[in-house]
Amino acid sequence: MTITLTIDDQEVEVKEDATILEAAKKVGIDIPTLCYHPDLTEFGSCRVCVVENEESGDLLASCVTPVSDGMEISTNSAKARTARRTNLELLLANHPNECLTCDQNGMCELQDAAYNLGVTEVSFSGETTDYEVDDVGPSLKREPSKCILCGRCVRVCEEVQGVSALEFTERGFDSVVTTAFDMPQSEINCANCGQCATVCPTGAITEKSCVSKVWGALENEDKHVIVQTAPSIQATVGEEFGMEEGSIVTEKLAAALDKLGFDKIFSTDFAADLTIMEEGNEFIKRFQGDKHLPHITSCCPGWVKFCEHNYPDLIENLSSAKSPMSMFSAIAKSYYVEEMDLDEDELYVVGVMPCTAKKFEMNRDELIETGSETDAVITTRELVRMIKEVGLDFANLEGREYDDMMGTSTGAANIFGTTGGVAEASLRTVKEKLTGESLGRLNLGFEGINEAEIEIGDETVNVAIANGLSNAAEILDEVREGNSKYDFIEVMACPYGCVGGGGQPVPATDERKQKRGEGLKNMDGAKTIRKSHENPEILKLYDEFLGEPLGGESHHLLHTRYKERERN
């Protein structure tokens, strides 16, 4: 059923369950919002979206108020504009005035709202709250004093991830979004995925920055600093320089990193091909030997930590293959050091990742013990800050190739950056290895849970792909109860996979993530080499250094362990 209403004298026909905000959007009227997020449930706490009902004069929060037939709404009456500004001023009255030095400066929705609503002064003053900063952990930094209690992080953590690490606590003026007993976020069940940071409209949750560490390494003449960029970065970094969402900027990215002073520019995609070689063979072994099935992917550190907290009984189903980032660093610190005749402590490996959880992964004991860890991880957002700091005109940079030895990748590796990619890439290699036949495109969707049945010889491999941890939990509960038909399960903690990662440009919406994911899929389609086992640099690596997949050297360098963690 549709109904008709008038917004700013324009007639709009919408479904009866639409909100005023949605109806306004339909006719191109942009109402300011803060607590509203298109991919989360409705909330209605900030009141910066109020509009006036012209008949009654009532002010209505447009993001939560349903339309009704014949309604007449003014979004820009003096009353509505004043109320919006007042509501925002009330929020600002208890918000630190630190924009100039805030991590979120330039990408802050609160800042934008103040500008758009014409706030030129804050006419209220009163008690203010002052909370301690939580920057104890490796991944995230939380500054509750900058929180406007919009609840977006609380909602994403509960609705999308099923983790609920953050919650509203206390009440009234003392309300604060925090963890149980204000424990550091790194000491609870948080997966470090950083989805909270991507939806927070302010600087209250951001990544824990490694930018100064990286500058330090680049300025240190005794260090040979190499960089690896994760598959998704080439599909997202351009956005921050005015380029269209989903634009693939591989060569410009390499050029920018070169200009920042890295000694070699490599790609994590190369290591993703290596992950496929190891993980694909591991799966074949399990599938043929019928042990520890379903096989579950382990390249996403957010997912791995979630599993360690909530499904420790399924740890043995996780692939023991390290993530591409960690494989890259292990190879860099062995093979590359040898080839380049470097001292071991001369090499410094930086990862540009879509991901806050990778900062945690880098610090895992299992990796540090073996001396094969990544030395610094920066997110896409941090890289953007570095590029802006040196004033590069990114969009107009002349591109360059990635460096040889660890810079070549296949289409299979590129799609690692989006949901379904790891599964599709692995099974391409698995099928070919077992039957000599090629696997057709799977054309999986991006949302929620996807399934595929793949014929390999006379056997069928049942595949499930989940993005978002609550979707993963749904599948894992079935596995735990013993009524799952799946042989191979891919899990990505972030919706849409790493293109939707916690370190990607904000504000994040599903619409934006979808375009990024499509960008990567097109990239795969356009590649001449689309199978990991055909990557010439990978073949050379096995030939000259590693030997066989899963063999002695590979096992030692490229596989790892996990551990049970407390549930809460």
């Binding site: 609920s164 690490a165 606590t169 925090t178 963890t179 007993f181 809460n568």
Partner: protein, 163 residues
């Protein structure tokens, strides 16, 4: 068995045993959170961290969610409480008749702030909105006893009664 001091796991188990027992009466459903918190507080006198953690596990909620509920309602206490609870009325009538001075005097006597508990866990002090005995203003309650028409000078004597 010989003394097991330092055996953390066992101490923890012993500490949580009464909680486990009271949880036996409940199904693992979110709607029982508040009754469980009430029962647990009844049992322990307050809601210790480990107890809240255990409850969250039992109900399949996150620790933060349970903490959020426990801190929302003023009936729940996350710190140990004194054996004797002193409630000082701050309602209008008491305010007008010097409730503030009574509160100050008690704070001085016990050396604690509003909401605090003495180190020996003997007294907890709370200011409250009207307790409904305006005729006796200014009034305090110690546990279930009402003491009305007070002057600050009477405070030490009353505290002494409960020592």
């Amino acid at each position: 068995m010989a003394c097991q001091c330092g055996n953390e796991e066992q101490n923890r188990e012993e500490f949580l045993a009464p909680l486990r027992e009271l949880l036996e009466d409940y199904e693992s459903k979110e709607k029982y959170l508040i009754p469980i918190l009430q029962d647990a507080q009844e049992e322990y006198g307050y809601l210790p961290k480990d107890v809240l953690r255990e409850i969250s596990g039992f109900l399949n909620l996150s620790f933060s969610q349970v903490y959020g509920v426990a801190t929302f309602y003023s009936q729940f206490h996350l710190e140990p409480r004194g054996e004797n609870i002193i409630r000082v009325c701050m309602g209008t009538a008491c305010h007008v008749r010097g409730g503030e001075k009574i509160l100050e005097k008690i704070k001085d006597e016990l050396g604690i702030e509003d909401g605090g508990t003495t180190d020996d866990l003997h007294f907890t002090l709370e200011s409250v909105a009207c307790i409904g005995a305006c005729g006796l203003a200014p009034v305090i309650m110690v546990n279930d006893d009402t003491h009305g028409r007070l002057t600050p000078e009477q405070v030490p004597e009353i505290i002494e009664e409960y020592k």
